[in-house]
């Protein structure tokens, strides 16, 4: 049972990593394109790289979402859901959500300050907040899950 639980937790962490990285690439590339469009800049030789990041990120995010559906049914079949989502999981989830929230507040303050210096559209600001909120939360959760301490005696 423990082997199965460990395996399912490892799978979940891999999926979360894929989701976080994909989302960062997908929306980060989109943000770069939005900024360039507003500023009237061109990427030149990096245009292809930006488009590839966008495509890879979007495909990765879609893939991660689909794999999460498969993962959820696998967890349900294993009857290990209550073990996987035990109180440490809920505790770490709460910390990660709070961290994401604080990151959004800090980013909002920075964007407000930046707005005094440069003009940018609401789309850029909202996309930046979305990227920060989601990746901060997912990364914090993954880091909390990795902190393994002194093991078996």
């Amino acid at each position: 049972m423990e082997d199965q639980v460990s395996k399912l937790i490892r799978q979940r962490d891999r999926l979360l990593t894929l989701a976080a990285v994909s989302f960062l690439f997908w929306q980060g590339a989109q943000l770069a394109m939005d900024i360039a469009q507003e500023g009237g800049w061109e990427f030149g030789p990096f245009e292809l790289v930006i488009h590839l990041c966008l495509l890879a990120g979007a495909l990765g995010w879609a893939g991660a979402s689909f794999l999460f559906l498969l993962y959820a049914s696998r967890v349900q079949r294993s009857k290990a859901q209550s073990v996987i989502q035990d109180e440490l999981f809920c505790h770490n989830q709460r910390i990660a959500i709070r961290f994401g929230f604080m990151a959004i507040i800090a980013a909002t303050a920075l964007l407000l300050a930046a707005d005094l210096l440069v003009d940018f559209s609401a789309t850029i600001a909202l996309r930046a907040l979305l990227i920060i909120g989601i990746t901060a939360q997912l990364s914090r959760f993954l880091i909390l899950g990795r902190d393994d301490l002194e093991d078996e005696s």
Binding site: S6, I9, V83, E87, D147, D151, S153
Partner: protein, 72 residues
């Protein structure tokens, strides 16, 4: 004066000859949860504390106790 929760979980688990994984299976949590409780990273709920006491067949206060925080 502030206090923190100390525990003798590792010692009592070893006395019972259980691994973290075995104890985790008995109380229905992951091995990591037992690991973080033993290392005082995570403070368990009353329900989990009572389940641990029951799994180790000891009163809950034999596992957990309050101790003053280091700087006090």
């Amino acid at each position: 004066m502030t206090s923190e929760l100390a525990n003798r979980l590792k010692e009592l688990r070893a006395r019972e000859g259980l691994t973290q994984a075995e104890l985790a299976a008995r109380v229905g949590v992951t091995r990591k949860t037992i690991n973080t409780v033993e290392n005082r990273v995570f403070v368990p709920s009353t329900i989990l504390a009572l389940k641990l006491a029951s799994a180790l067949a000891v009163p809950v206060e034999e596992i957990f106790s309050l101790e003053p925080r280091g700087e006090d």
